[in-house]
Symmetry: D2
Subunit: 96 residues, 4 copies
């Protein structure tokens, strides 16, 4: 299990809050589906959960670049190359 | 509060299961952030929650088209136009 | 080769204009890469081409729902089902 | 006008080829709209242009990280911070 080399406490705090709120929103989605709510209303709510997850990702990227990635890119070519490959993989997964 | 005119029981069942699993994944993300796990590992997990939400949306769209939207598009021009505007709004929110 | 059952002339006109502009933007991207322009500047320009393509898609969806899809959803169950499957496939390709 | 500090010739070559092909695809889209082709067929083609643009972006990100970003992240805290802000802005524009 790998850990971050550094975590900005403000980013951590706001991401924990966001994820708590997202958990509640997902529970709300479950209830909407259970109650046969109107699909476009559920779909709008799904989109807003996805927006919230995007904010979490953005802050994780910021934290990663400021700590682990910066450290690796300062390191040897091998270390830097592996950090770059990893960042490109993360980019592909999120931006396509 | 608006309700669906018809809900395919198989779609409802699988969406409820998916949302239960997503709720667990979001709780897992909270734990990962709390434990200062390596950001790219968290980011990969966020991407898989996003994928799971996309499956939920796809099935909601299928259900909506099969029931409410079909009913509205068969109706008067005013009803049809309002259903189309709503579908385009949902499309924009999800596909940009 | 399949054709649309109906095309809103205003949508067609604005999509043709958008696509002409997008073609120019793509040529601009080619020039930027050729001149070794700063990658984030090129990436911002790629994002704006993506935005412009999303506007084209949104209008194509609106046109399709208003004409072909409406016609098919009014038709037999078999016709309607095939139109729904097609719309869900298009949704998946664009929204995931 | 800003330029890249370094460009991988293989990335440049393949991006120039991709962009030439994309330009042709956009011209093809213009023709499809002009001929009132079936909207879902056009929409599938738009999605494939967007996929192609995503490949271009991915390679631009890889090049940027390998050259300019690496250089900046090795630099002073001010330089590094500005490179990180820029990368997060590019991320937001592409991944939301």
């Amino acid at each position: 299990m790998r850990h971050a080399h550094g975590v900005d406490p403000a980013i951590k705090e706001s991401n924990l809050k966001r994820l708590r709120r997202i958990e509640g929103q997902v529970r709300g989605l479950h209830k909407m589906v259970e109650e046969d709510r109107y699909c476009p209303d559920i779909l709008m709510q799904v989109a807003s959960v996805q927006e919230a997850l995007k904010s979490v990702s953005r802050e994780l990227v910021r934290n990663h670049l400021s700590h682990c990635a910066r450290r690796a890119l300062k390191g040897s070519d091998v270390e830097a190359q592996s950090a770059i490959d990893e960042l490109v993989a993360v980019w592909s997964k999120h931006a396509g």
